[in-house]
Symmetry: D2
Subunit: 337 residues, 4 copies
Amino acid sequence: MSIVRAGILGATGYTAVELLKILLRHPLVEVVLATSRQDHGKPLSEVHPLLAGRTSLQLENFEAAAATKACDVVFSCLPHAASATSVQPLVDAGIHVIDFSADYRLNDVATYETWYGGEHPDPTRVGQVPYGLPELFADEITNAKLVANPGCFPTSAILPLAPLLLHEQIQPQGIIVDAKTGVTGAGRTPKQATLFPECNESIAAYAVGTHRHGPEIRQILSRRTGVDTDLIFIPHLVPMDRGILSTIYARPMRGVSAEQVMECWREFYEGQPFIRVVDHLPATKFTSDTNYCDLAARDVEGTLVLIASIDNLGKGASGAAVQNLNQVMGWDATLGF
Amino acid sequence: MSIVRAGILGATGYTAVELLKILLRHPLVEVVLATSRQDHGKPLSEVHPLLAGRTSLQLENFEAAAATKACDVVFSCLPHAASATSVQPLVDAGIHVIDFSADYRLNDVATYETWYGGEHPDPTRVGQVPYGLPELFADEITNAKLVANPGCFPTSAILPLAPLLLHEQIQPQGIIVDAKTGVTGAGRTPKQATLFPECNESIAAYAVGTHRHGPEIRQILSRRTGVDTDLIFIPHLVPMDRGILSTIYARPMRGVSAEQVMECWREFYEGQPFIRVVDHLPATKFTSDTNYCDLAARDVEGTLVLIASIDNLGKGASGAAVQNLNQVMGWDATLGF
Amino acid sequence: MSIVRAGILGATGYTAVELLKILLRHPLVEVVLATSRQDHGKPLSEVHPLLAGRTSLQLENFEAAAATKACDVVFSCLPHAASATSVQPLVDAGIHVIDFSADYRLNDVATYETWYGGEHPDPTRVGQVPYGLPELFADEITNAKLVANPGCFPTSAILPLAPLLLHEQIQPQGIIVDAKTGVTGAGRTPKQATLFPECNESIAAYAVGTHRHGPEIRQILSRRTGVDTDLIFIPHLVPMDRGILSTIYARPMRGVSAEQVMECWREFYEGQPFIRVVDHLPATKFTSDTNYCDLAARDVEGTLVLIASIDNLGKGASGAAVQNLNQVMGWDATLGF
Amino acid sequence: MSIVRAGILGATGYTAVELLKILLRHPLVEVVLATSRQDHGKPLSEVHPLLAGRTSLQLENFEAAAATKACDVVFSCLPHAASATSVQPLVDAGIHVIDFSADYRLNDVATYETWYGGEHPDPTRVGQVPYGLPELFADEITNAKLVANPGCFPTSAILPLAPLLLHEQIQPQGIIVDAKTGVTGAGRTPKQATLFPECNESIAAYAVGTHRHGPEIRQILSRRTGVDTDLIFIPHLVPMDRGILSTIYARPMRGVSAEQVMECWREFYEGQPFIRVVDHLPATKFTSDTNYCDLAARDVEGTLVLIASIDNLGKGASGAAVQNLNQVMGWDATLGF
């Protein structure tokens, strides 16, 4: 197989550097382009000193024509709206795009505009783009020109819930996702709220009832399972770099037990290399720096407690993106990991 | 008022040193005794170097007769069963005891023996001892000879829930307490699970469905409000020293709103110096090293999300113990803080 | 004694909130003013949620005339240059000022302008202002109108070194101060370098050879002991909120031993309530949230290893400021602690 | 090339799991044996849950004959003395051994017995075994049957110092190594001193003047460069999982500048894939989860400040071990990384 030439748009943040770390190990990919509006001209390893000696790339300004010519695939780590604006001409030109932003994840433009504000820059594609969870949307992703890389929290909620809704193991009403994330999830732009002394030695809920990943979880679950849920999603910020633990509360159908839930997952995800149904209680440390999603279930007084652990920068972002590339290209899912 | 002479049993752990820090500032208390089975003979400041120059106490072996003679009040930081065994003769002798263990918290011996194992050393007192939340049991605590200092998690659940059950703001069914604690909650005894590299950069649920604070929460809520709940309680370990954040999910009665919940709390806890009903989302950092319990509520798609933040070593343990002493003695609640 | 009315300029940062926590407990002080250019109009407890329910102050714009009228003492937590500009009229008007900035710490204007840049706003006072270490400059501080509160690193270096230079225990050449600080030392202004994911799980040296506390240490040692040193100072950033540990390497005079060093400190600092010469190896945890400076010395192959531990927000900033106030006023040094 | 069969003795600790993570990615190695005295019989993934689904190995009791038969190379992660006792028969039987313990690192038995106590179990080999820094001892390591994997701190001190002593850039007297390590360096055996709440939010020096890595650094520098130093080594414990930063103070020969030091390193280590001479100030985060050693130098008032950063579990232990295997076997140095 010939080497695929990859570009990264918005290469200065945490998801981009994680993506670079994986791609630099990927046997079938060469990173040929990294862009940044603010830092163009600088060596990539100046912005990410951990890459010293591992890449000689310089950050460039993004230009659609040049990117189209230089790359076979482009990963966009740009913020929402900016991302659709930038990748639209690339998709039109026929190269592969894996978009980390929320621009192409939702089912409809109205929901996008309600939760993200502003007009969508590329509304006709919304709802038509495969959602980048190969465990659930493999067929759509294979050969796709554009893939919507999932949100980190949605991945940790959809992977445990989708099989249980599809197979009627849990009730769609009253699902609660109590999620906990490391601070890289908040991005690398300086903000008082994510300074070390604000986050360290503290845990707090945030964006209660207003986090944009709520509608994403509900819409994708509905898209994949046909079941509408009234799930609520409450995120918390944890003093650690990386990792998401979602503790999900659901009521069983027909007295379904935690053991039956685990069995349902094992069957549904059989052969999937990145889903681990584990007997121990998942900890984010056990999935850190990996593309795994660990799943476990417990019965507690008639409620099913479902626990999912991922690395928000791994299966929650950059690991997922590489897995999506592998799926798009028809490669082995584990290449690069 | 004359100075009260205080003793501390089991003075080598995290709750004991926190208690010492508060008592050393308390204008009406002198600490005259600190015991340890393993470290007796050592200066207290050798076991807790942060106390260097602040106390010249030496750790002693516990002897009931000597403790009775030396102390007006004894705080027991001993483990369950050992605690009741040790404090029983002190209570019989008529001195005041504030017991940090679970021995006198529950309503009945049967529940104790189911969850804690073994025979209760002092079964006749079980169910007769005031539960040490002065905001809810002030009358029983005043002048009490024995007070059961609450568990850390129960404090963070009972304080927000009791007024809402009493005033029929929430339904007693389907209450979920998703709690997150710092690592001091796991004690100072060396265990692999609480080594720095096991806890750091990780979050996990533990004791799912089996944590002993579950029955304590349900029994005390029932004792105080007369309402039986089927509440479930799921604790998580967070990489921080101290703090508990409990995110509680409840269904409202009659469309009660979060604003009405906040109003209910404000009225119920009016005049209570350690309950803060806050407009911002509570973070454990804001209650760290204090005796406060911060409360907030939000409506999310028909579910009430109640958030409580305490310091597990403050209002969750040693702060509560001093507040209880103040209540027992009829002093101002804020002495020592 | 009547209550002293205190104001805080620049009340939104970490040193200000620490100062507030101490002053709110101080029996002879009432905080009557808190200013902020950016956040004036907001309640102080909105900027520092941990103060909820503890103060009803609103942040105000700074005006010299109003501050002079309202306050008996003003603590300035403003940045350098801005601080001297603001406090100059207050000092002229005769109220007490304790200045956290570097504006009045150095011995001469030339050094100030070399290291801090720009013109000094109040050059005639430079070199005339007592340096706020009551253990070393008590007489000058008593009754002073203006006190230069020390830098955090300098405190951790000057306290161990001054007695040893004065009493010729160590050679003035070749002194190395390898210092480690928590992240609050870098302030609360959003910067990429102090985001949680940049600092966490990492230690690094910074400002090697260029940190402004180097000349401060050398000048104050010289001012107090008459000995010029060629000391070098290398700071490191540690993933923790607070604390400074300075490991200092010095060559002994005449085979002076670590035990003799400890004895020299004990004699020199006899009666000083905040200096603890300890037998164990100091850890920042043991001085956290206190005004202590812990000191220990060890002999290692002919080199003296001196270790000092303080809380950068305690004895390194806000604790020192309150201790200075106590000294200025002739109160007991421990009031408020 | 055929696959090399590898065994790991003492497979339950932090260096072992890190070694497994690297070896599971190594294209020419298959791990066939993992031993544990305490946990034999358990699946390896039970002791290290992050390995779930990645290995089906069960922990076995160590038996020399079986290990000799099953393995081509054995990595020993056993403690000192136990390690030499266990690997001696393997070496005698002619298989390759890479020993993580200190048993074969020093130049002579007397020094070993002074610093480690007890009799050395295999004294005749001491001083004959290549020290596992391929950057300095490549010839001895190639084809070696036994390699002494270096201590973590010594790696961070020897790599920067050896070229400078060899090329007479620095004076051998008065070298100070102020080193800072993450907590995994203290091992996985439960101890109060390494509990999360003891280490978190704290930094302290430990084993001042008594750490066993002091003589190792001096002896290996002398062995490689012929220069005897009077270097002192002072370790500190930092609240992070992994990483070592060594800040080294040395006096230059003949006014050698930091730039000349950097140039000396660049020439000496040319072609070495794991040594990065960097322009920025090294941070442990930039070498975390890698086999790199980052080096930088600065001039500060006539003193050379040398900074080295490694991952104590990477280049400081398990990365080094795999690099040593690659060197022993004549493979490319970067295989597995």
